[in-house]
């Protein structure tokens, strides 16, 4: 697992202390053991102006995505999770060791991203954009609901969308990938752009700002 990403989640700047480094190593092993990665995906056609998923007759009201997907004619909706044991273990550490809990949280986030990246690599998607998740940039969080239903994420990967709009298990995500055009990840649409401690410290999560 990429320790730099883990440290980013923990807002680390500069070198990591030995004790935290050890905690990270422990958590990497535990997260890998407790996680049960499940993923499901489906490909749809896109039409433009306005951006729409054709089969679902679903308009995507987002200028960010209109921009990123402008050269894409298809998109993949992908949902994945690390499973409920990660939630349970996290709560466990919240009771007995908060330091470990925050590290476990960061490691889980990183592992979810990495598992999903690895899975994408197996798909032979050709030119494609990065994953864009509802809630980031101006892509409405409300899209999670119809997209979750179409993908049957509860049945296929055991993820439910609560009445409050949260994915449970917590380490789950749903994203859209434009197919047919290349776009790299950037900080541009990140929801934390204005408040990000790393940015304030002059660091960037991605190569492009």
């Amino acid at each position: 697992m990429n320790k730099k990403t883990i440290l980013n989640y923990l807002n680390y700047q500069g070198n990591v202390d030995e004790k935290t480094n050890q905690l990270i190593d422990e958590c990497i092993l535990e997260v890998q053991e407790k996680a049960y990665f499940k993923v499901t995906q489906q490909i749809f056609h896109l039409t433009h102006s306005p951006l729409k998923i054709e089969e679902l007759d679903l308009i995507i009201p987002s200028s960010d995505l209109t921009h990123y997907f402008q050269d894409c004619h298809k998109c993949m909706v992908i949902a994945c999770t690390l499973g409920i044991e990660i939630d349970r273990q996290m709560k466990y550490y919240e009771h007995i060791d908060m330091a470990k809990a925050v590290v476990f949280d960061a490691v889980s986030n990183t592992y979810l991203e990495e598992c999903c990246d690895e899975y994408e690599k197996t798909l032979d998607l050709g030119m494609h954009t990065f994953r864009f998740a509802p809630g980031y940039g101006d892509l409405p969080l409300a899209l999670n609901k119809p997209l979750s239903r179409v993908l049957q994420i509860d049945k296929k990967i055991g993820v439910t969308l609560s009445a409050g709009g949260l994915f449970i298990p917590m380490k789950s995500m749903l994203g859209m990938i434009g197919l047919g055009s290349q776009r790299a990840k950037s900080c541009h649409s990140c929801i934390r752009k204005e408040s990000c401690a790393l940015r304030k410290g002059g660091q960037r999560c991605y190569v492009i700002d």
């Binding site: 680390y12 905690l23 499940k38 409920i84 007995i96 609560s162 009445a163 917590m170």
Partner: protein, 785 residues
């Protein structure tokens, strides 16, 4: 009668509905249940084809017909449900064949508490409403594709309490042999049999071949009729779409063994068609192959089962307020977190089951029991022992417990058995029977007689002896020295004559004598040799646990002594640790929480408690805060230091009347609808390290609960946390409700999506960006106090 046929006739279920509907034109994103009203002929046609293929059951198209899932369908779920049953009936009439109409109930689509947000009661109400609506028009209810055993429990209770219909349950297992919420097949069997389902089985997720390990376990462990509905093999992706490629003949080949090994019902799930069902029907034997199933005494949590099979099973006794001042206070002050920590410690020490007793004068025992059980089950996988003298508390705990509990207890008195046995039968538990009536008989033979009476009486309620564990009762050596050995004799007699497992609370034996641990572990060893299976002990007593480990070696339960060897090597490792040379300040700054308590005790011998706080702890803590703010240390280190400080504070407090030094109380929660409470917990730990008393209401806390807690706790400040924009709405509602009281303390908010602007918009008094900012804020606001 369907129930009578289940163990005799091999019956045929139908196959997939979804794949058939897609072939008939159902598009991605369309809701299949809507076809019940908009295209009834398509549904009727699918049913007809399955019936003609040989199905004995018509699974109505009601999988997602619940108010939550049908919310966006444009129809009331009631109408879709009724239309589905009507379509099934029409198909049956048209084919003119005897067939059972199945009310099909899939997962509600929301995860249940404690890790999810849907309560057992809400799940129950949803399923009960479905059952009540059509119960006169269906023959059986099928809870299918289930992944959450707690939802299954809600479903079985809802069906059985609202109808006389048979109820079948199928769960979906992954290749790791667990459901997506972590239940294994033996736990599934143990819980669902206990709740009184009429049949159980597996469906979906995998094909007939991949399901073999699960089906084998079911065949070996359940005496209930088994239903098997696999997918048409494993799915594969074609152009981003899921497809099933298994042929009907390969499917039948995969199913053949099961049909001759004792499965009662066979059918198909995703990807199967009428062709599959016809192929199955062609080769299926008419009768169910009889099976012999060995009965075990088993208790379960949601995803772990303890089987009594010779080895010693340790029940941790520490979650019981009797004689424990700290736990008493924690229960009274609703600091349930301490109960959870106590549970975790016992789990770490090697307990297999945890006793839970919350009986205190002036406490609402039933509801406290449920709260504590829910919190424990969120993080601890061990089965629990529900321990109470109140039938009301036992009943409520059994209803809300997730799994098959151990129930403590009944005794030989008729009125006690009459109160408890119906609960044991209804919810499916294993019950402890105490060998006493009006008093404890002195002789072993008399205790045996009471044990026999309990077992016979239980049988009248349909409770088998595998669900009873007999307590032969430990007597105190200081008062009844002669009778101590009667207990040992009784253990042997009960086991030999009645063939049941046995339990003892061990430590009573030493009451009133010096060096109690010596007597306890000697008695334990004798009792184990005499036939004790379930000692109820303090698992943190290392010597007791060592005696058990040694016993397991000597009786060949610990194969190759492997567990024992690991245990002993850990002991040696611990003894070579060097004593630390750090100062208390260093320990706080570096977060050395394992050593800080010893160090604090040491410095307290040479310094006044107030000096320890003001000259050591506070300056160290200030240093930590400053380092964090200047990016010299980061969140994990801040947490280490905060936890270390909290431990140091606890030691100082225990030696000093420190109440005047405690700041607060501060009330905190993560708002309704939000389960991400790590942020709130981070703030809580840091506040506690600064000496604030924090009343933590937990996560997903309903608005009215916050209001209620305000009246009860009189906080100096209220902190609310939310992670998502969608739950900030609930934060606003909570603030509005609090201000309407009106509250006489400020409200501050925080969380990933919050900003000062949002905080102002929703009417919060203050916003803080992180834990240290919260400390600064609270110090500033509350400094006048």
């Amino acid at each position: 009668m369907l129930r009578d046929r289940l163990k005799k006739d091999l019956l045929i279920f139908d196959g997939a509905m979804g794949t058939q509907l897609q072939n008939a034109g159902l598009k991605a994103g369309e809701i299949p249940e809507v076809y019940n009203i908009e295209y009834p002929e398509i549904i009727i046609d699918i049913h007809e084809r399955y019936l003609k293929a040989g199905a004995d059951f018509i699974t109505a198209n009601t999988f997602g017909c619940n108010p939550l899932k049908m919310n966006d369908s444009g129809y009331c779920y009631c109408d879709l449900l009724k239309a589905a049953i009507k379509n099934a009936k029409i198909a049956r009439e048209r084919v003119n064949k005897e067939a059972y109409i199945v009310l099909d109930i899939g997962p509600i689509g929301q995860l249940l508490e404690p890790l999810g947000t849907l309560s057992l009661d809400e799940a129950y109400e949803i399923i009960a409403s479905q059952v009540l609506m059509v119960k006169d028009d269906v023959d059986v209810v099928l809870l299918e594709t289930m992944t959450d055993l707690y939802e299954v429990k809600a479903g079985i209770l809802a069906v059985k309490e609202n109808s006389d219909l048979p109820v079948f349950v199928t769960m979906t297992f992954e290749q790791n042999k667990r459901t997506l919420t972590g239940s294994d097949s033996i736990t599934f069997v143990n819980v669902v049999e206990g709740l009184g389902a009429d049949a159980l089985g597996v469906n979906c997720s995998l094909g007939p071949t991949e399901l073999k390990p699960i089906i084998d376990e079911l065949l070996e462990n359940t005496s209930l009729p088994i239903l098997v509905q696999p997918n048409a093999g494993l799915p594969c992706l074609e152009d981003g779409q899921t497809k099933y490629q298994m042929t009907s003949s390969a499917f039948v080949e995969g199913m053949m063994d099961y049909m001759h090994q004792g499965v009662s019902m066979v059918g198909g799930c995703c990807g199967t068609t009428p062709e599959f069902i016809a192929a199955i029907k062609k080769v299926a034997p008419c009768h169910v192959t009889p099976r012999q199933v060995k009965k075990y005494t088993r208790v379960s949590s949601q995803n772990q089962t303890v089987t009594f099979n010779g080895q010693v099973v340790v029940c941790g006794e520490r979650l019981n307020p009797t004689g424990k001042k700290k736990l008493k206070a924690a229960l009274k002050e609703e600091r349930y977190d301490e109960c959870v920590v106590e549970g975790i410690k016992q789990q770490q020490a090697g307990a297999d089951i945890l006793d839970v007793n919350v009986g205190l004068p002036g406490i609402d025992e039933p509801s406290t029991m449920v709260k504590v059980i829910r919190l424990l089950q969120e993080v601890i996988n061990l089965p629990l022992q529900i321990d109470s003298s109140s039938p009301a508390a036992i009943e409520k705990a059994c209803r809300y417990y997730n799994g098959k509990p151990l129930i403590n207890s009944v005794n030989g008195k008729d009125e006690v058995m009459e109160a408890i046995f119906p609960i044991v039968k209804k919810y499916g538990g294993v019950v402890i029977g105490l060998t006493l009536e009006d008093g404890i008989p002195l002789l072993a033979e008399e205790r045996l007689k009471i044990a026999r009476k309990i077992i016979n009486k239980a049988a009248e309620y349909g409770i088998g002896k595998e669900n009873i564990i007999i307590d032969c009762l430990t007597l105190t050596a200081s008062a009844q020295q002669k009778e101590v050995q009667e207990t040992l004799k009784a253990l042997t007699l009960v086991k030999q004559e009645l063939g049941v497992h046995t339990v003892l609370g061990v430590s009573n034996v030493s009451f009133g004598l010096p060096n109690r641990p010596l007597l306890n572990r000697t008695f334990l060893t004798l009792a184990l040799h005499s036939g004790l299976d379930l000692p109820i002990i303090n698992p943190l007593d290392q010597q007791l646990m060592d005696s058990i480990a040694a016993y397991n070696v000597l009786y060949n339960f610990d194969q190759d002594s492997s567990h024992y060897i690991v245990m002993q090597s850990n002991v040696q490792l611990e003894t070579v640790k060097n004593p630390s040379t750090f100062t208390l300040e260093d320990m706080i700054i570096h977060g050395l929480k394992d050593e800080v308590q010893t160090k604090t005790k040491e410095v307290l011998q040479a310094h006044e408690a107030m000096d320890v706080i003001n000259q050591m702890i506070i300056p160290a803590l200030n240093q930590v805060g400053q380092d964090y703010e200047t990016n010299k240390i980061f969140l994990p280190q801040l947490m280490q230091s905060a936890q270390t400080t909290k431990l140091a504070f606890e030691i100082v407090k225990s030696t000093f009347a420190i109440d005047s030094q405690t700041k607060g109380p501060i009330m905190m929660c993560t708002v309704e609808g939000d389960v991400h409470d790590i942020g709130k917990n981070i703030v809580k730990v840091v506040l506690e390290s600064y000496g604030y008393q924090v009343i933590d209401l937990g996560k997903d806390v309903k608005v009215e609960k916050v209001v209620e807690a305000y009246h009860r706790c009189h906080p100096k400040m209220i902190g609310l946390s939310a992670l998502m924009t969608t739950t900030v709405v609930n934060m606003k509602r909570t603030i509005e409700a609090l201000k309407a009281i009106p509250v006489d303390c400020p409200i501050w908010v925080g969380g990933a999506v919050l900003t000062q602007e949002i905080a102002d918009e929703i009417g919060a008094d203050y916003y803080s960006e992180d834990a240290m900012a919260s400390v600064t804020l609270l110090n500033e606001i509350l400094k006048e106090e």
